[in-house]
């Protein structure tokens, strides 16, 4: 795993606000607590469900020019196919934590950034005025070690500061990957790689 546990605890304890920063976001949603049958409180928390749908690029892209990334926000998974269709990579991801923050449709990579500096969006700042101006590269950076800017303003595919966010609705619209996964993907994609959020 990319980070030692201690950092996560520090983030959660001391810097709850810091953790909340990013495109990957404020308070990440916890899975529900599954209630045992003896405790019949009528709580809806009787199950945590999830699903994974297998995708084929032909169903989502006209071609594989410059490769294609499909972010399945329902399955919380990112799919990648290179231009020569020689592989199909699938990585677990964080997804937007609410409907309002969710953008879907077709876009592309417009900029690749190594060790990005994270700057809160105006919207995030409005929600939380205590946010720092920016966070430079490092373990506390909510965008992790790599960022892929998309054609939609403020939307990114990036790494992560807290591995607990992966597989959960934890972002302000972006898709976060484990840092080792985003580093791998970063080397395979280029400006112009097609991206669809589904």
């Amino acid at each position: 795993m990319p980070f030692p546990r201690t950092r996560r605890y520090v983030l959660k304890l001391g810097a709850a606000t810091m953790a909340s920063l990013a495109c990957p976001a404020l308070v990440y949603a916890q899975d529900t607590t599954v209630i045992a049958p003896a405790d019949s409180t009528g709580s809806p928390s009787r199950h945590n469900t999830a699903s994974f749908r297998v995708h084929h690029w032909e169903d989502h892209f006209p071609n594989l020019q410059k490769g294609a990334i499909l972010c399945d926000l329902e399955s919380r998974a990112l799919h990648y196919w290179p231009e020569d269709d020689s592989q199909h990579l699938i990585f677990p991801s964080s997804v937007p934590r609410s409907e309002e923050l969710t953008q879907t449709g077709l876009t592309e990579i417009v900029l690749k950034r190594r060790n990005p500096t994270w700057i809160p969006t105006p919207n995030m700042r409005a929600l939380d005025p205590t946010l720092p101006e920016s966070i430079g590269p490092g373990p506390d950076n909510p965008m992790g070690s790599r960022a892929l800017n998309l054609g939609w303003q403020y939307y990114r595919i990036h790494g992560i500061d807290d591995i607990a966010k992966i597989g959960r609705p934890a972002s302000s619209g972006c898709v976060g990957l484990f840092n080792d996964h985003v580093e791998h993907l970063f080397e395979l994609v280029e400006v112009g790689t097609q991206v669809r959020f589904l």
Partner: protein, 194 residues
């Protein structure tokens, strides 16, 4: 089975008006299965009896080596009732998919996370292939719960994304995996393939 027993099997009063409505609203076609499974309780290898909503009448729901075969049969019958009601082809249990789904249920318990990724980053595609499955995986459904397999299927039917996987027209084979923790919590994995 004597006539009085048979009658008992059909008397399944819902526990409350709320649950009655829920049972009705849900999958009317499940009723037949529930009745059958209620009768199946007479078999020592059978899983616990279910009420009209598909819940275990005992509260807890132990899944054991002895009853897992019947649990899986009931699951595939439930899925097929639902598919047939929608005009879709039935599915059958596949041993390789069962093996890979069982492994994933155990893995989720170890990971403490209800999701489709293995600790090694694998997806159901990788796991099915490793188990020797030769078809194409279409999707996978997960539930971390104390609920029965019938309730889990019912829950998956209630959300569009999960329902679409269960009702994939191409589906022909499924694998139902389960891992039960000492607390009786269940980790269900249903792999759907063609």
């Amino acid at each position: 089975m004597n006539p009085s027993m048979a009658r008992q099997c059909h008397i399944l009063p819902p526990t409350s008006p709320g649950t009655a409505q829920r049972g009705l609203r849900l999958i009317a076609s499940l009723a037949a299965i529930v009745v059958l499974s209620a009768c199946a309780q007479l078999n020592p290898n059978a899983p616990p009896r279910l009420d009209a909503t598909g819940a275990s009448v005992q509260g807890v729901y132990p899944v054991t080596e002895r009853n897992i075969g019947q649990v899986r049969s009931r699951a595939v019958d439930t899925v097929n009732q639902t598919r047939l009601a929608g005009g879709l082809a039935p599915v059958a249990l596949d041993p390789a998919l069962i093996q890979s789904a069982d492994g994933h249920s155990r893995s989720m318990s170890q990971q403490g996370r209800a999701w489709s990724f293995g600790a090694d980053g694998s997806t159901s595609i990788d796991r099915a292939r490793r188990a020797g499955f030769d078809g194409r995986v279409l999707g996978e459904l997960i539930s971390e719960t104390y609920e029965t397999e019938v309730q889990a299927i019912e829950t998956w039917m209630q959300t569009p994304a999960t329902r679409a996987i269960l009702l994939d027209p191409r589906a022909r084979r499924i694998g139902l995996g389960v891992f039960q923790e000492p607390s009786n919590k269940l980790w269900w994995t249903l792999t759907v393939a063609n």
